[in-house]
C-alpha cells in the first residue's frame, strides 16, 4: 500500500479560523502533519503550508501561505490562502467559507429550471427577491407576490433570476440560481462581479438587472454555473482539493472502492438511481461494499 503524502503545516501564534476544517477535508491520501522550523521535517513531507500574518523568509518548497489577517488586514473577515506557486507568493483567491452548505441544495442550471417552471405551470420568466422584510416573486414588471422566508430555497431552485444578499445569496448560489446582489454581498462571499453574480448599487438597479437576466439565457447560464462553482470552491473541501492541486501533491489512484468517492465528487444525491446501480454492480466484489459505501448513509441499509 502506498504511504500517504504528507503536508507539513507550520502554525505560528494564531491558528487561522477554518484551518481545522480545511485540514479535515484533505483527500484521504494526503496527511497533514505539524511542522516547526526548529525541528526536523516529518518524513514523507511533500509540501508545506505556512500559517502566518507575514510571509516566510525562506520557505521550503512547494508551499502555500495561509494569511492570518494582521493589523493591516482589509475588511475581509475570512482567511485567505496565498497562491501556492512553488517559487513565489502573491495574494491569493482561496477564500474559505465556514458557512454550512444547504443540505438539500442541488444545482439547477437555467436550462433545467426553465423545464421545471414549465412542468409546474409557472411563468417562463420568474424573478425572486429576498429582502429584509421577506421574500417576493413574480414576473418582472408585474405585481410581485409576497411569500414566507422558508419558501426561498424553492424560489432559488426555480427562478429565472434572483436578487439576494447574505445567507439568502448563499442559498441561491447553492441552487445555482443566476443571482444579483450588492457589492458587499459579493465581496463577503468572495464572488467576482459580472462573472459569478451581477452587482447593483440600489434595489431598483438590482431588480432591473434581474429582469434583464431573466431574458438572457446564455448570460444566466454562465453566471449560474460560475456562481455555484465559485461558492462551492470556498467550502473547506474545495479549498483542500485546490490546495493539493496547486501544491502538486501527487494523488494515488482509485480502485473499485473509489466509486463512492467518485459519485460524491460529482455531486450525486444519496438516493439517485446511479448510486443504486453502482451498488448493485459492485455488491459481488470482495471489499467493494464495505470500503466503497459509507455505513452512515441510508443508501447502505
Amino acid at each position: 500500500m502506498t504511504a500517504p503524502a504528507r503536508l507539513a503545516v507550520h502554525v505560528g501564534r494564531d491558528v487561522p479560523e477554518g484551518l481545522t476544517a480545511v485540514l479535515s477535508a484533505l483527500p484521504p491520501d494526503v496527511q497533514p502533519v505539524a511542522a516547526s522550523a526548529r525541528e526536523a521535517l516529518p518524513e514523507g513531507s511533500v509540501a508545506h503550508l505556512y500559517c502566518s500574518d507575514v510571509l516566510p523568509r525562506r520557505p521550503a518548497t512547494p508551499y502555500a501561505v495561509w494569511r492570518v489577517p494582521g493589523a493591516d488586514a482589509d475588511d475581509l473577515d475570512v482567511p485567505v490562502i496565498a497562491d501556492a506557486g512553488a517559487r513565489h507568493v502573491r495574494p491569493g483567491d482561496l477564500q474559505v467559507s465556514l458557512r454550512p452548505w444547504p443540505d438539500q441544495a442541488r444545482p439547477v442550471l437555467p436550462f433545467t429550471r426553465a423545464g421545471l417552471r414549465r412542468l409546474r405551470d409557472l411563468p417562463a420568466r420568474l424573478v425572486g427577491e429576498a429582502r429584509a422584510g421577506g421574500v417576493s416573486w413574480g414576473v418582472p414588471g408585474e405585481t410581485q407576490s409576497a411569500a414566507q422566508l422558508d419558501t426561498w430555497p424553492t424560489l432559488a431552485a426555480l427562478a429565472s433570476a434572483v436578487v439576494a444578499t447574505g445567507e439568502e445569496l448563499w442559498t441561491a448560489l447553492a441552487w445555482a440560481a443566476p443571482a444579483v446582489t450588492d457589492a458587499a454581498g459579493a465581496r463577503m462571499l468572495g464572488l467576482t462581479p459580472e462573472e459569478d453574480v451581477l452587482v447593483g448599487a440600489d434595489p431598483a438597479t438590482r431588480s432591473r438587472l434581474a429582469a434583464e437576466l431573466a431574458d438572457d439565457e446564455l448570460r444566466a447560464a454562465r453566471l449560474a454555473r460560475s456562481g455555484w462553482q465559485t461558492a462551492r470552491s470556498h467550502l473547506p473541501a474545495g479549498v483542500a482539493a485546490e490546495l493539493c492541486r496547486r501544491l502538486g501533491i501527487p494523488r494515488t489512484g482509485s480502485s473499485a472502492s473509489g466509486l463512492s468517492l467518485a459519485l460524491d465528487a460529482l455531486g450525486t444525491p444519496p438516493h439517485s438511481l446511479v448510486r443504486r446501480r453502482a451498488r448493485a454492480s459492485t455488491v459481488g466484489l470482495p471489499g467493494a461494499v464495505t470500503s466503497g459505501w459509507r455505513p452512515d448513509r441510508e443508501e447502505h441499509s
Binding site: 444545482p107 437555467p110 412542468l119 473509489g258 467518485a262 446501480r277
Partner: protein, 339 residues
C-alpha cells in the same frame, strides 16, 4: 508525447464520431506522437445514462496527455485533460428540447432530475479540462446554454479531403449521408417532385431508413429521378462529388457534418436548411451555397435556381472551396497539444 484519445463506442455502429477519432489518432501520429485510442461502450437510454460516465471515472489512464472527444469519454480523470467536444448527450439536452423521437426524455420529474444531474456531472467533468474545444459553433453554443461553459470551436478537414477535387458540373444534385431521421432524407425526395427534368438526385449512403426512402421514391413515381445506391465506395464517391451540380444537405441541427466540407473540397455549393445547425457555420446564403426554409418547395426552388444558373453554382462552389482552404490537421494537432 504519449497521448490517449478517448471516445464512446456504440457497439455495431460506425459513423462520423468514430471516423473523427481515428483521423485524429492518425494526425497525432503523423506529428510524431505515440497515440492510443481508448473506447468504452455507451448506452443512451435514460435508465443507464450514468453507467458509462462512472466507468470512465474509474479508468486509469497513464499518458502525458488525454484528449476526450464525446459524451461520456470526457469523464475520464487525468491531470492533463483536453476536451475536443463532438457532442454531449443530445437526448438529454437539445433532442429533449426539440421533442426528437430519438430522445427518451419527457416532461416529467424523473426526466428533469436526470437532466439536472447530468448537467451537474457534465459541468464537473468538463471543468477539469485544461481547455475545452468544440467541433463547431453549434456545439459551443449548446455547451454555453445548457451548462454555462465556454469553449473554442476547432474545425478539422473531413475524410477524403486529400482526394476530393472539382470537376465538370453534371445534371444531378448529390446527397451524402446516413439515411436516418435527423438527416431528413424524405425532404429531398419530396422536393424532387417539384424539380423538372433533366435534374436528378443521387442519394448516397446507407442507414435505417434506406428501405423506407426507396419505397417513398417508388410510391412518388420518382424512380428515374431519384437514385439511392446505398453504400458507395470512396473512389466512386469522390467522382460523384466532382460531377455534381450541387450538394444537398438538410439535416436537423447537425453537430458538424462532413458532407458540407467534402462538397466544398469538391468545389460544389451546398443547399441546406435554416435549421441545419453547424452546417450554417459554413454555408452562407448566396455566398457559399443556398439556405432554404426546410420545406420541399423551398428546397426545390433552391435546386432549380442553381440548375437554371450554372455560373452561380460554380461561383458559390468556388467560394466554398476558398472557405476551407486553411483547414488542416497540422493546425488541429498544434492547438490540441499546445502546452
Amino acid at each position: 508525447m504519449d497521448i490517449v484519445v478517448c471516445g464512446a463506442q456504440k457497439p455495431f455502429v460506425r459513423g462520423g464520431a468514430e471516423q473523427h477519432q481515428e483521423n485524429l489518432v492518425a494526425a497525432l501520429e503523423t506529428a510524431g506522437h505515440r497515440v492510443d485510442l481508448v473506447r468504452l461502450p455507451v448506452a443512451w437510454e435514460k435508465g443507464r445514462l450514468f453507467d458509462s460516465p462512472l466507468a470512465w471515472r474509474m479508468v486509469p489512464v497513464d499518458a502525458d496527455l488525454v484528449i476526450a472527444t464525446n459524451f461520456p469519454s470526457y469523464f475520464v480523470q487525468h491531470p492533463n485533460k483536453i476536451v475536443w467536444l463532438l457532442h454531449q448527450h443530445r437526448g438529454a439536452y437539445d433532442g429533449f428540447e426539440a421533442g426528437a423521437s430519438w430522445s427518451d426524455f419527457a416532461w416529467d420529474d424523473v426526466s428533469l432530475e436526470e437532466q439536472r444531474l447530468l448537467t451537474e456531472w457534465d459541468v464537473a467533468a468538463l471543468s477539469e479540462a485544461r481547455t475545452v474545444f468544440s467541433n463547431s459553433g453549434v456545439v459551443s453554443r449548446r455547451l454555453a446554454r445548457f451548462n454555462g461553459l465556454d469553449s473554442t470551436p476547432l474545425a478539422h478537414p473531413p475524410p477524403l479531403h486529400d482526394v476530393l477535387h472539382p470537376g465538370e458540373s453534371g445534371d444531378y444534385v448529390l446527397s451524402v449521408q446516413r439515411q436516418e431521421e435527423n438527416k431528413r432524407p424524405h425532404l429531398l425526395v419530396d422536393a424532387m417532385a417539384h424539380v423538372p427534368a433533366p435534374v436528378r438526385a443521387v442519394m448516397a449512403g446507407r442507414g435505417e431508413l434506406l428501405d423506407e426512402v426507396r419505397r417513398h421514391v417508388e410510391d412518388a413515381g420518382l424512380a428515374g429521378k431519384v437514385e439511392l445506391p446505398g453504400f458507395v465506395p470512396d473512389a466512386e464517391l469522390v467522382e460523384l462529388y466532382a460531377g455534381a451540380l450541387a450538394v444537398v444537405y438538410v439535416p436537423e441541427d447537425e453537430d458538424y457534418g462532413y458532407t458540407t466540407l467534402q462538397a466544398f473540397y469538391a468545389g460544389k455549393p451546398v443547399i441546406c436548411a435554416a435549421d441545419s445547425g453547424a452546417v450554417l457555420d459554413w454555408v452562407e446564403d448566396g455566398v457559399t451555397g443556398l439556405v432554404c426554409d426546410g420545406t420541399p418547395e423551398g428546397l426545390a426552388a433552391a435546386i432549380r435556381r442553381l440548375a437554371d444558373d450554372p455560373a452561380l453554382a460554380q461561383r458559390l462552389g468556388a467560394a466554398g472551396r476558398e472557405r476551407i482552404a486553411d483547414l488542416s490537421w497540422a493546425d488541429v494537432v498544434a492547438r490540441l497539444t499546445a502546452p
